[in-house]
Symmetry: C2
Subunit: 119 residues, 2 copies
DNA sequence: GTCTTGTTTCGACATATGTCTATCTTGACT
DNA sequence: AGTCAAGATAGACATATGTCGAAACAAGAC
């Protein structure tokens, strides 16, 4: 697979990148909502911690990485959840979070820049 | 005009997706700033119009697509400019905007999901 | 020069957002 | 039952943001 094929294959699946066609209002609103969820440094770090974990992450393992209060972390996790980027489940005393890659992949594809055809 | 007051720490080697490694605070702040620029429906549509044009776009051709006032469009374009996503130039009476694909590609890669979304 | 058009900047406003403390819910363990 | 700990929720607060109208600015037409 060539490097050019990567961006093309990523764009081929679920949606048309903005570099190819302008967004209609509804799609723009939906996409903007996802971007808004990632528009805070703490939330973006939270997302990266959950996405990179390769497994469920306990909130108790997340909180120590930050200086803000527990409720603030909880609030940010809820925003990520409501954006469809993560989901969670309580098991016993602890709550575990995991990523929902579909949404993440969607906006990634939306932003992908097709390789300029050099020919 | 073309002022770009955002320092871009990367560029050459691009970056590691969040699905692979968690972000440090500095990169998270930088990334969140770009996402914030795209977190408004009007700005996301503006970005898509400029990115998909394949050429410079005159502001006079952009404004009619929206119902908000001219100053509001100008404000949103400035946010995109300060995020390093677009640049512009005045030529005669009109101002033309074009995309800066580096920033766009950067956050696209940041969000890319290496593994298949649903295995 | 003055006028007209296109675009940005300014100043103000209502609403949204991030953060905190205090309180509540859930479940584990005596 | 009672108690404790992990998280979530509620309410309050200061700040940030999106929007507008008015004014300023830039460049061409007259």
């Amino acid at each position: 697979m060539s490097k050019q094929d990567v961006s093309i294959s990523r764009s081929g699946g679920c949606c048309t990148p903005i570099s190819v066609a302008a967004l209609d209002e509804a799609t723009a609103s939906e996409g903007a909502a996802v971007f808004k969820a990632l528009s805070d440094p703490i939330r973006l770090r939270l997302m990266s911690i959950i996405a990179s974990a390769g497994a469920e992450v306990c909130v108790c393992d997340i909180t120590p990485h930050f200086t803000v209060s527990g409720p603030t972390i909880s609030h940010h996790l809820r925003v990520l959840r409501e954006a469809g980027l993560v989901d969670c489940e309580r098991r016993g005393t602890w709550v575990y979070y995991w990523p929902l890659p579909d949404r993440q992949q969607w906006i990634s594809t939306l932003l992908s820049v097709p390789e300029p055809a050099s020919a």
